[in-house]
Symmetry: C2
Subunit: 248 residues, 2 copies
C-alpha cells in the first residue's frame, strides 16, 4: 500500500512534467522548452526532472507517444465507422486533419521527433512504444485497403500495392500538415482551407484508383457532415474552438 501510494505520486508528477512541457511547447515553441524551465514551473529542481526523463528528447518522445495514442483511438473509431471502406479511409484522413487542428503544435512536435539525433538519445522502451504505435496506425489503413480489395470495392493494381497506396495517403496528410505548420502564407497562394484541400486531394487519389463507390458532391458533403456530427462530434467542437482562439 505504502509503496503503491508512492508510485501513484511519482506517476502523478510524471504526468505533471509532461503537461508542463506540452504547455511550454504550445505557448512558447520548441526552442523555449528546457529542463530548467520545466523544473521551475513545476517548482521542483532540475535533478528531479531528470529522475523521470533521461534527457530532453525523452520528454519529446513521450509526448509524441501520448499524441499517437490519441490518434490511434481516433483512427480505430474511424476504421469501424458504419460506412464502406472508401469512406473509412476518408474518415481516417479526416481524423488526422482534425487532430492537427485540435491540439497546439502537435504536428510540430512530431516533426521534431523525426529529426536527426532524437532517436539516438531516447530510451529503447520509448522507441519501441513509438514504433509500435506507428505500425498500428499504418497497419490500420493498410488493412482497410486490403479489405476493400477483398470486398471488390477496389481492384488490385499491377503497379501499386496496398502499402504504397498507404504511403501515398500518409505522405499527403503529413506533408500537408507540415506545410501548414511552417508559417507559409497559404492564403497568398490562394488556399483558404488547407485541410479541405487535402481531403479533396485524397479523394482525387481514391478516384484515380477507381475505388468504388465513387462520390458525387452531395454524398461527399453528407459524409463530412456525418463526421462532424456523429463520428467526431466532440473533436470537431474542440477543433472549432481552437481555430477561433487562434484567429482572435
Amino acid at each position: 500500500m505504502t509503496l503503491s501510494r508512492k508510485q501513484r505520486e511519482i506517476a502523478k508528477r510524471h504526468a505533471l512534467f509532461l503537461e508542463i512541457a506540452e504547455n511550454i511547447l504550445a505557448e512558447e515553441g520548441f526552442h523555449m522548452l528546457s529542463m530548467e524551465r520545466i523544473a521551475e514551473v513545476a517548482e521542483y529542481s532540475k535533478g528531479t526532472v531528470y529522475q523521470h526523463f533521461t534527457c530532453k528528447e525523452e520528454i519529446l518522445i513521450q509526448l509524441c507517444i501520448h499524441c499517437m495514442t490519441t490518434l490511434n483511438g481516433l483512427f480505430e473509431r474511424a476504421a469501424h465507422f458504419d460506412c464502406n471502406h472508401r469512406d473509412r479511409v476518408i474518415a481516417i484522413f479526416y481524423a488526422h486533419q482534425l487532430w492537427a487542428m485540435t491540439g497546439n503544435n502537435q504536428t510540430d512536435m512530431m516533426m521534431h521527433l523525426s529529426m536527426d539525433g532524437v532517436r539516438e538519445k531516447v530510451t529503447e522502451k520509448s522507441l519501441q512504444q513509438h514504433d509500435q504505435l506507428e505500425q498500428n496506425l499504418v497497419g490500420l489503413v493498410n488493412k482497410i485497403v486490403l479489405d476493400a480489395i477483398n470486398d471488390g470495392e477496389l481492384k488490385k493494381h499491377k503497379h501499386i500495392q496496398a502499402p504504397e497506396i498507404v504511403f501515398g495517403f500518409w505522405s499527403l496528410s503529413s506533408g500537408g500538415q507540415m506545410l501548414q505548420v511552417c508559417e507559409l502564407p497559404l492564403e497568398e497562394f490562394g488556399i483558404s482551407d488547407a485541410n479541405m484541400a487535402l481531403v479533396r486531394s485524397l479523394v482525387l487519389m481514391l478516384d484515380g484508383l477507381d475505388w468504388q463507390p465513387l462520390h458525387n458532391e452531395s454524398h461527399f458533403k453528407k459524409l463530412l457532415k456525418r463526421f462532424n456530427t456523429e463520428l467526431f462530434a466532440e473533436e470537431y467542437a474542440i477543433a472549432c474552438e481552437s481555430m477561433n482562439k487562434k484567429s482572435t
Copy 2:
C-alpha cells in the same frame, strides 16, 4: 580595383563557410553543426564567421536558398520539356524526388528551416529571397495547371481550384520526402521504392482529376525513361551514384 579584390575575397570566404557547413550537415547531421566547428574547419576564428552570418540560422537559410535555386532550375527545365502539360507536372514532381536523392540531407535541411524560431532570427533579406523562390516554385506548377485548363487538357473543377491542386501535389511530394528522411523502416511497411510510390500517387491524383491524356503503363515507362536520359540525364547519374554510396 583594390576594393573589388577585397570583395572577391570576402565572397570566396562566404562560399567557403557555406560549403563547410554543408559538409558538416551531410556527414555529421544537423546537431553537429556549430559556428565554432565551421570556424575551426575553415581555420578562422568564430568572430570572422559571425561577420558573414548574423547567426546560425542565417547559415541554414542561405544553404536553403542555394538548394532552392538549384531546384528552381530543375523545375524550369521540366516546365519547358517537350511534352503535354500533364507530363510536365510529372516531370517537375520527378525532379523534386531526384533532387532529394542527389544531395545529402537537403530535405533534412529544408525541414529544419521551417521549424520554429528560425524565421524569427534570420535576416530580412534572406527571408525575402527564400519566400520569393518559394513563390516561384509554386507559381511554376500553378501556371502549368492553368495552362492545362486553358488548353482543354484539364476541366475546371467546381470544388478544387488550381492552387489547391498544387498544394496537394506539394504536400504529397514534401510529405513523402519527410517520411523518407526520418528513419522509418519503409521496407518493413512493404515499400521498396518510395520515390516510385510517390510518383505513382501523383499519377493517381492526375487520373482522379481526369487530366488528359490518361496514361497506359507503357507510355508511363517511356516517359520516365525520357526523364532519365533526356531531361535529367546528369542528375539521374548523380542520384544513382549517391544511392550506391549510401548502400555501401
